[in-house]
Subunit: 307 residues, 2 copies
């Protein structure tokens, strides 16, 4: 079980040469995902050496430009690179129309299967359920329809206790899958060996929550309980809490309170407003409420392992 998050951009609003807007590349339990896709994301992917043809699922939180203007370029580039694998895009209703009109007017053909999964529910939904992971929306409160996303690894099979198994000659290799699945073993004479005797607990599944953009919402904390890694936007500092409320964003202190309420193991902050010259102020403010937090930065990698 492992999770590796590469920050491609973490600033708010307009892109500047050293301040790329929101985009993240997530590797989780062998799946390769992109979360938000601001203008310039494909250049950032190249810059940080991401083999981005592997990306199979793209999650767009909302239709503000600093979260999706790079998507049409990425979709086109995949086509120019002769992508064959399917691509799934999850985002607010309307996103499909935006992409399709551009492809139509440029007379571009996308040769790979491109699937849109348009979102419009205000309740948390299971939107991806693969063998390896599941992804749920985390409805957020912003100026327009917005979702965060909760990514969870699927539980791994139980680990065989080979020492214990070897003491019971009745157990055949064909029984191993049942043991991995948590079943007890019943011998030919009806003897029952409990699963707990024959297996070890697998590593706990890891989880990551992406919460941007949103005003302070305790409902979010409830939806992401015990998450291993939490990205929560912190556009403002407390000194501009009124502005955060008006524009439906959060302060660093609010992000930290959500992390604390959620029982998150680690918090990472981003979506910084350009009005602040020193982003370390975000860290200082957040750490007063939640100890284990870090600032995002383009190119920074956050890895969590649980072997």
């Amino acid at each position: 079980m492992s999770l590796r998050l590469t920050i491609l951009g973490c600033h708010s609003a307009t892109p500047r040469s050293m301040a790329h807007p929101s985009a993240q590349y997530l590797e989780i339990n062998g799946e390769h995902l992109l979360i938000d896709c601001a203008e310039g994301t494909q250049m950032q992917l190249r810059k940080f050496g991401v083999k981005f043809s592997r990306i199979k699922h793209v999650f767009i939180s909302h239709l503000h430009g600093d979260h999706f203007y790079g998507l049409i370029g990425l979709i086109s580039t995949f086509s120019l690179l002769n992508r064959q694998n399917e691509l799934h895009v999850y985002g607010p209703a309307g996103l499909k129309e935006i992409i399709q009109i551009q492809l139509k007017l440029s007379k571009s053909w996308i040769d790979y299967p491109l699937h849109f999964h348009e979102l419009n529910s205000n309740k948390s939904e299971l939107i991806l359920d693969s063998e390896k992971i599941e992804v749920r929306t985390v409805p957020l409160r912003h100026r327009i329809y917005t979702n965060g996303f909760l990514f969870r690894e699927k539980p791994a099979p139980r680990k065989l206790n080979m020492e214990a198994i070897s003491k019971h000659t009745e157990i055949d290799i064909c029984d191993y899958q049942n043991l991995k699945d948590g079943k007890d073993f019943t011998g030919s004479h009806g003897t029952v060996l409990t699963n707990a005797e024959l297996t070890f607990d697998p590593p706990s599944p890891l989880s990551y929550a992406y919460c941007s953009d949103t005003t302070y919402s305790e409902a979010v904390a409830e939806m992401i309980q015990n998450v291993d890694l939490l990205y929560h936007e912190s556009t403002f500092l407390e000194q501009h809490a009124d502005l955060a409320e008006t524009t439906r964003h959060s302060t660093a202190a609010q992000a930290a309170k959500i992390a604390s309420m959620a029982g998150a193991k680690k918090l990472i902050l981003g979506h910084f407003s350009s009005r602040y010259k020193d982003v370390n102020l975000f860290l200082q403010e957040a750490q007063e409420h939640f100890a284990d937090c870090e600032l995002c930065e383009a190119g920074k990698v956050f890895a969590v392992d649980n072997q």
Copy 2:
């Protein structure tokens, strides 16, 4: 009279960290223009220190992504920067719809006057006629509807020959504008002093032609006769002339032949395909047909003065 062209990007197809696609910033006779606007153009404008709030007119050649995917971001950024001045966008029909649907779905309001001038003619048209410049389309032959653009300074007023004027006390300061406009001076007794005696020729108006993307077309050369500076795409080298024909692009040799036929003073080459590792090959090939040519490169400035 002066013309200053800053290359923001000059490579074809997908953006890479060191190979930005088409965008140019043109200052001509006091007007500030943007020509094409690929993804990342606003970052390039910032990188090269262009005061881009001055841009009043944007010209989009065609609706392939490597020529316009950055436009929505630029338009949004102008809004975030509280632009008040009007912005005019000239491009193929459909461009307005692409921009407007994105603004609508993101619930963004553009507070400044944004005017679209949609193009659909296959004949050269005068699309901008200001006090300082005029701009005409140069219909190109590409896979989709495409225009190049010919930018020309308006003729400057004639320069007063103060030495000659001072010899004629009858000429008042009120007569100067007529002299600048090329009129003769008629004294109170009907004596005529010709304009040529009292003024000098002004500097010749400068012109710049942007021709991208296009297959080889001699009609283009006719439309841009005697241009001072010509940008002509050269996606391929002659060794791939067949590919140039199929994809409706030009080779470096073809670009040079157009420059020669047009009697251009200088040729600049761009829109290089990523298949070539050494872009100097484009220069070598072009120079066999046209001596004064140079390669484009992001950040490079081409200046022409005529004082």
